[in-house]
């Protein structure tokens, strides 16, 4: 492990402490705690799980059980931009599979790998984004894009590759 991120790491663990303080007395806290922890780190690092276990007095095995049950939690680092591509029925029958293929190709992801090597993008196929009338649909971070065609994918990704993200919001892809 490199230690150049030491100071940053400390700040993040301080944030974790304050989350844990907020939830000390709450019942049914584990899932919101994990959600907020993941917001800080982008995933659930082992050290953070140990810390949650120690402060909230929940066995690490139980936390691990919950974290691996839900699709939302990740035990490995994730990309800076999260692409949620809908694989729901409506998107499936309107060619969502081809959009997914185009994404994989554009990002250069091999089968079974969902995060790019440079940690820029993570591809997250999800069950349904609930914008079925606009199928096929994907979300990049919080921006929704509908009526997609495979050729739109590269253009959209390009916007997120640079630092600037001013071009926000769905752009209503050329239908």
């Amino acid at each position: 492990m490199c230690s150049c991120g030491e100071e940053v790491k400390d700040a993040r663990y301080e944030m974790l402490e304050s989350i844990l303080d907020n939830y000390r007395e709450t019942t049914g806290k584990l899932i919101p705690v994990l959600q907020e922890t993941q917001e800080i780190f982008g995933y659930l690092p082992q050290d953070a799980i140990r810390e949650i276990s120690r402060v909230l007095r929940i066995p690490a095995s139980e936390i691990y059980g919950v974290a691996t049950f839900y699709g939302q939690f990740h035990l490995k680092p994730r990309g800076k931009n999260i692409i949620k591509i809908c694989t729901g029925t409506a998107c499936h029958v309107r060619g969502g599979g081809k959009v997914l293929e185009a994404l994989r190709e554009s990002l250069g992801l091999k089968d079974g790998v969902n995060t790019t090597d440079d940690l820029q993008f993570t591809l997250d196929p999800v069950a349904c984004l609930g914008a079925c009338g606009m199928a096929p649909v994907m979300m990049v971070n919080d921006d929704v894009y509908g009526r997609l065609e495979p050729k739109d994918v590269a253009i959209i990704l390009e916007r997120y590759k640079t630092e600037e993200t001013e071009e926000k919001g769905g752009q209503g892809c050329v239908a």
Partner: protein, 618 residues
């Protein structure tokens, strides 16, 4: 008890003032945003400033016409509301310049008008007489797309919280439950259990602490009516839950929303804090002595959490696995306390029932299924969107009249109703009335109301495989039939789609399906085989074609396709030959080419390159 009448009058006055000004409404539900609604907003905002035009800009939820998004409506005092659809930012600017600047309607982009109370504008269709609207009855969706969901005053001005006031001042819990029972409202989440009886059971359970839970974990792919209510009319859900709390004697409620709906969560949070600030939620509601607070729990991505006992485990912070019932949640639910669980659409019906009476509600629908139901129209139809219709209308009316039939002049093949747990319905059964019981007889189910329409280009075996992939991935793994059985079924379907199907596979699938249905622990497992059984029942010949003839007639299953070049159409341009990654295309320049079937990997690259439409799948 304090009444909201004074507020209502004040809000009304304020809104009457607003109605004297020009208003531009832009749909900014998730669908609207996906279609580019934000861009329209920005374009209109800057054009108004540029031209020095005065108009109020308001955002609203989904009005159900996803096919026409982005949508912009223009209200000019004294004139009908004009709805413009399928706009680009440039067109929106054109509309602003013409309609506001020159007082001319932009006929090119106007898709409908709402002439109620005004002299109609010629040449623009009346919204309520368009084929999409004509057969609809809006109860649950009545306010969606008409109000600003972030503004509690908009809700109050449109009969909002009237029902809660009525209940707190004039009803006892028993009377209230009786009223809900008389309406014959059945759960809109899928199972269709009578809501009044559910409430009664929770009411009868003795305990100091009870809970009201709303299932907003709309997991069925192809269904988005709950999202539309959460994003477009969040207060209607809060009102329904508070009324339920009063009926069963609960002072706390939880809304379990899936994490994929960030906008819904944001709007719900705002709605709850606004209602609390006005004393409509929280302690001593409207000085009646009734306390009710609502919390939001964001789901963490597990389809099985739509099952009620799994959902409760998830709120408690555990793995969302279902458990055996009884005891039912009405006896032992959240943290072991009596709990009532309904879904969003069910709660959203409650206030209207209380306000307009059980008789009004029961006057819609069929013998055993009353009221109206929202359907999500998706797939290969011309008009996608949300439609609320009286229960009992035929599927044909929904698919062909409201949704406008199949896109691109293709042939209808089937409609999948009820999500991955439902079934598909062929052309011959399209005249079936849509109600809970008729659909069950056909091997489908009402489910949450998602309708995915498929045309001739959908392979039904591939579709069954798709659904099984979904349920198999989402199986929580607790009980063996679901965990192992769906996996075995999926392997068989995989093999059939790849061209390795065996003659005995159909029998094996049917046997496995029967066992999984009858022995699984929860609804997910019990209904997982439905898509396979339904496709086997109505589209058996497609399975047989895959297994015996090694052919996929819809042209979807790659291994079963043969790519051919039409010798008449081919000009010998060599484009296809050059792009073929495995050199399977042979032929001389300017002479018809042909494909070597042995070498072809069926990638389809040649089809997309051919400019003469000479290559086809057969």
């Amino acid at each position: 008890m304090r009444s909201l009448n004074e507020q209502r009058m004040m809000v009304q006055k304020k809104q009457d003032e607003q109605d004297k000004r020009i208003k531009i409404v832009i749909g900014l539900g998730t669908c609207g945003i996906a279609a580019g609604g934000n861009k329209i907003w920005e374009a209109v905002e800057s054009e108004l400033a540029l031209q020095g035009l005065q108009a109020d800009m308001v955002s609203t939820g989904c009005i159900g016409m996803c096919y026409a998004e982005p949508i912009m409506e223009v209200f000019v005092p004294g004139e009908p509301r004009v709805i413009y659809g399928n706009l680009t930012p440039e067109q929106a600017i054109e509309v602003v310049d013409l309609h506001l600047g020159k007082s001319e309607i932009c006929l090119d982009y106007a898709i409908a008008q709402d002439p109620r109370g005004f002299e109609p504008i010629p040449y623009i269709p009346d919204l309520f007489q368009t084929p999409f609207y004509e057969k609809q009855t809006k109860t649950v969706l009545g306010r969606c797309g008409m109000i600003d969901p972030d503004n509690i005053e908009d809700y109050i001005a449109r009969d909002g919280y009237v029902a809660l006031e009525k209940v707190l001042s004039t009803f006892g819990p028993i009377e209230l439950i009786e009223e809900i029972k008389n309406s014959d409202l059945r759960g809109r989440g899928g199972g269709g259990f009578p809501t009044g009886r559910k409430w009664e059971a929770a009411y009868q359970s003795q305990s100091d602490k009870k809970y009201v839970v709303c299932n907003a974990d709309e997991g069925d792919p192809g269904a988005f009516m709950d999202r539309s209510v959460l994003e477009g009319d969040p207060h209607s859900l809060l009102e329904g839950m508070a009324i339920c709390g009063y009926a069963i004697g609960a002072d706390e409620g939880y809304i379990y929303v899936r994490a994929e709906y960030p906008l819904a969560i944001k709007r719900l949070k705002k709605a709850i804090s606004d209602a609390e600030a006005m004393g409509i939620l929280g302690k001593n509601i409207l000085d009646s002595g009734f306390d009710f607070t609502i919390h939001i729990t964001a789901g963490a991505g597990a389809f099985v959490c739509g099952e009620e006992t799994a959902l409760l485990h998830s709120i408690e912070g555990k793995r969302g696995m279902p458990r055996v019932r009884p005891p039912y949640p009405a006896q032992s639910g959240l943290w072991g306390q009596p709990t009532n669980i309904n879904n969003v659409e069910t709660y959203a019906n409650i206030a209207s029932i209380v306000r307009r009476g059980a008789g009004w509600f029961a006057s819609m629908g069929t013998e055993n299924s009353k009221g109206s139901k929202v359907f999500a129209l998706t797939g290969k139809v011309k008009r996608t969107g949300l439609a609320e219709v009286p229960i009992g209308i035929s599927l044909r009316e929904i698919v062909f009249d409201i949704a406008g039939g199949i896109q691109d002049n293709k042939q209808y093949k089937a409609v999948q109703i009820g999500g991955p747990s439902g079934g598909c319905i062929p052309e011959s059964l399209l005249d079936t009335p849509v109600d809970y019981d008729s659909l069950l007889e056909l091997g489908a189910m009402m489910g949450s109301g998602g309708l995915v329409v498929m045309d001739e280009s959908t392979c039904m075996v591939d579709l069954a495989r798709y659904f099984l992939t979904f349920t198999q991935e989402e199986s929580c793994g607790k009980c063996t039939p679901c965990r192992e059985g769906t996996k075995r079924m999926l392997e068989i379907l995989q093999r059939i789609c790849e061209g390795d199907g065996k003659p005995e596979d159909i029998d094996t699938l049917e046997r496995l399906a029967r066992v999984i249905k009858s022995t699984s622990l929860c609804g997910l497992g019990q209904s997982a085989p439905n898509p396979v059984l339904a496709t086997l029942k109505y589209f058996r010949s497609e399975y047989e074609a895959h297994i015996y003839d090694k052919r996929c007639l819809a042209g979807v299953c790659k291994n079963l396709l043969l790519f051919k070049i039409d010798q008449e159409k081919c000009k010998g341009c060599t484009l296809c030959k050059n792009v073929c990654p495995v050199d399977a295309i042979k032929g001389e320049r300017k002479k018809p080419h042909y494909i070597d079937e042995e070498k072809c990997i069926r990638c389809g690259t040649c089809i997309s390159k051919c400019t003469f439409d000479a290559i086809y799948r057969g």
